[in-house]
Symmetry: C2
Subunit: 336 residues, 2 copies
DNA sequence: CTGTTAGCGCTTTCAA
DNA sequence: TTGAAAGCGCTAACAG
């Protein structure tokens, strides 16, 4: 660790002012080819890298953004993260990774740290709260994008999943199989996505002229265990159900396991459909029919929305809704 | 977006010098309680946050580290990332997430960007190359930790998995089941972990007095598809094999699928053991016996090593080797 | 205990 | 096309 090479080191060695070096590294046109050439050579020789910190202080832009996710080890969010990082990288931005651990207090704290770091923008994924304190910090960022969670007042550009249509497609597919007694493992009652998926389910059922019994609707935690428990409860009370539409793939895997324990054959006795299409979905037995959510794409879109804001461009569509696609596998096959 | 509140704004409002404010925000003792109180009140009222950028320029430390992973959406690395981020956060560091996409050129580029951002340290996960150019950039960082990949000269503190012992345990378990014809799906020939696991396998077999035929050793890409293909090849040439030790869980899942296609019952006809214990492992059918790698723990250890370097402490153990644990499930159950 | 001065490495503005 | 001066917001070093 020797001292960093600075812009004035380069300037001296090239026999120019540091301003000229600055012009060269920023690709300004007003430098003579000769001078530029000489400066570039010195930069090459010395291995000079401009300090983004000093530049950030001078320009008050850091080419840095913050990404807040509940948990990066959740495959749903790590895919989104990949999309964000890839697009950010292409545009010369570095990304701070912050886990909020679903903890509102920590969510605030990471936002404070991002504020101190002077990020140019923040992408918030799966945000849970919207307290005044939260609203307050958010206001202080130059740009904000929300992913998978709508603020009540739609105050920020947002990337959403078309949960309603996705659920309709999924349930429609089940109905096409000839099943009519379709239960739903809704997921958590407070979840925005869960409620959208539920309403898609209800619309599909209603559209087919089937009246849904209250008991067919079962809330659960969005995990394998949650799905397993909920399925056991549901099938105990309503053994006549011949299909289950699940909040996500993890819940669906729980449902598969419960059906195994209850000796219900899938799909013959009961069909099962998930949501998300995480990696797992294709690999369980039976392979899961599910609604694919384009997560990497969501990340890209989110970063693009952020970039536009940071460039001061107007955002035509403040809410981008990405489409899902039904992936048909063995847990709810196509009936021919 | 109004102008940021700066340290001198606070100083003026509190009727002190900015130096005193600096002392307060850095918790220096030499400030009178009264003054401190007054300054804190102004900070509270104004919502002042010190600029980490300005501070970074002044101190040449940024409280920021870089984390380079091949792919954050790979669950192996996203778990490590979680461990790193959690520990970093506790110590007041923010983490730049960089995907290298297994691309040596991009790996270099992200390191350059991290250098410009003046990170205090870098954690490199699953690094593939060690070209002179790479060595060169690395030298310019104040602190470096390697994860899951040893540089030939052990020049940097490193967190490794005890692949050798893990493989020995796994194969030992298979042998205890009474199986003697154990094939191995090694993984990629260039992979350091793969070679360590292979040597653990060979030692276990030799220790049991079993001579391994060359044909039992099958290289493959470390994916489900790779495992599937390799298994088909292997079992075609060596149908007598009664167990497979796989490079990782994905390969093992591929093996399970191949066995399904070949009508080989697991574990009766053939036992299958994986490595890593990603969350998938418990959810496939049959559930996978596998060697658990404590990934979050690895991330924590890596960050701790980095912290010690950044504090200028001596590193007693330049290579930390984390232990694996055999998780026995149905694909290779315990024989009682 | 508190304030003053200088400077971190860059860009912006103005002048040449 | 080039350079000089000032300043971004903070801390280090010194003085009082």
């Amino acid at each position: 660790m020797t001292r960093r090479v600075t812009i004035s080191d380069v300037a001296k060695l090239a026999g120019v002012s540091s301003q000229t070096v600055s012009r060269v590294i920023n690709n300004k046109p007003e430098v003579s080819p000769k001078t530029r050439q000489r400066v570039l050579e010195v930069i090459e020789q010395t291995g000079y890298r401009p300090s983004a910190v000093a530049r950030g202080l001078a320009t008050s832009r850091t080419s840095t953004i913050g990404m807040v996710v509940p948990d990066i080890s959740n495959p749903f969010f790590s895919d989104i993260a990949r999309g964000i990082e890839a697009t950010a990288y292409d545009q010369g931005y570095n990304v701070f990774l912050c886990n909020s651990n679903e903890d509102p207090e920590r969510e605030l704290e990471v936002l404070f740290s991002l504020e101190e770091k002077q990020v140019d923008g923040v992408i918030l994924c799966g945000l849970r709260q919207k307290t005044p304190a939260l609203q307050d910090v958010l206001k202080r960022f130059p740009a904000i994008v929300l992913v998978n969670r709508l603020m009540d007042d739609a105050s920020y550009p947002t990337v959403m999943v078309d949960n309603h249509k996705g659920a309709q497609k999924a349930v429609g597919h089940i109905l096409n199989m000839g099943r009519k007694r379709v239960g739903i493992l809704v997921g958590p009652a407070f979840s925005y996505s869960a409620n959208q998926r539920k309403s898609g389910y209800l619309d599909a059922m209603e559209g087919a002229g089937i009246s849904v019994e209250d008991g067919w609707i079962q809330y659960c935690t969005p995990t394998v265990e949650g799905g397993e428990e909920a399925t056991k409860l549901l099938l105990k009370r309503h053994p006549q159900l011949d299909a289950l539409f699940c909040f996500n793939d993890l819940v669906a895997v729980g449902a598969i396991q419960a059906c195994g324990a209850l000796n219900r054959r899938i799909p013959n006795d009961i069909a099962i459909v998930g949501f998300d299409d995480v990696y797992l979905a294709a690999l369980v037995t039976p392979a899961l029919t599910t609604c694919r959510v384009p997560r990497v794409e969501m990340g890209r879109q989110a970063m693009n929305l952020l970039l536009r804001q940071m460039k001061g461009q107007r955002i035509e569509t403040p809410v981008i809704t990405v489409k899902t696609r039904l992936i048909i596998r063995n847990s709810a096959p196509k009936v021919t």
